[in-house]
Amino acid sequence: MVGPTSGEARTIGSRVSHYVHYGIFLISVPNLIVIGAMVAVFVLALVLRLPRHGRGA
């Protein structure tokens, strides 16, 4: 289920993130984006080729 967390925090003035709830897992969309980005960046780092360092010597 994806949806805004309802209720009380809003009345106190706090904005509340969207959360993804699946079984025992409850994770905010920003955290999910960060973790997804970590996996993506790691895979990209594996796949992409690092250009040879040629300028330093």
Partner: protein
Amino acid sequence: MTAGTSRTARRADVDPRPARAVPYDLVREVLVVCGVVLVLVLALSAVFSSPDDPPTTIRSFAQQSPLVFLHTALGDLDGSGEIASYGPPYNQGDHAVQYLGPVSLQKLAGVTIPINTAQDFVLGPLQPLATVEPPVAAALDRFNAASPAQRKAWEAAYGTALDAAVSSGATSLQAPAAAGPVGPMLAGLLEEAQVGSLDGLLLTSSRFYATDYTKPLLFLQGAAMHNRASALNFLGTQWGMMNETGSYPGQAWLWLYTFWYQVPAIATSPNGDAIVWAIMAVLTLLLVLVPWLPGINRLPGRLGVYRWIWRDWYREHPVGPPGGTFGPAGPPGGGPRAGP
């Protein structure tokens, strides 16, 4: 390369074949990387800013939920509140004492931050008000002079009236005569809280400078914060340690620590915190000692991700029959040795 490679080349766990040295500029790499991270962080800061939800004050709590405030104060006065019977380090109660097997490190550490909730949270803070409001002074004198049984009876009568007011949906409480001095006392405390005095009284006591918020936070730690935290998915059972106010990432690196609180047996255990600490202490030790753990220290060799990292090296340095390469296909049976 230099000493590192020659020293270790004899070891069976690293590729023994000599590697060419290629030009490299460490300083340039660090500078470029610093620039990239700086631009990334500046962009994120400019676009998304950062979260800053204002704190809950005793004043805002008393103004928004006066009856819940009175319930908290009554619990501090009559000893039924969470902190009143918490246990070490605050007092000798046992409400929150945790054990690991037969041992309670909590009890061994003893009472080091003594808190008497009736005195520290109710009777003490009423003193300044009593100097300017004679009815409060009279109520305090009467309460202090009464027997413990008499106090209990007043507190019980007040509690009954408070519960009735809460269930009837009332927003204020007219204390019954049977509550004796407890009525004017808690009304006085509510008044102090609503004008903001109680925040300061709990913070400073006798000192001028203050950096220790133990008392005001212990006063607020129950119902006052719980509802707000629950709506923000901050509770332990909501993976709360990872979460943040607003639409921001939180301390996602605490995922494993907060995971254990989702296990029902741990979440409901009175020793849950101690159990999670014990598990995490062991797991942390395992992480630190990975190189020495038989099996785990060879796991990377079996996982084979390294074949991607060094694919050029393996392609340019084939072994085995002419033309054969050591590459992503790899030898059967999980690939090369991963270490001693």
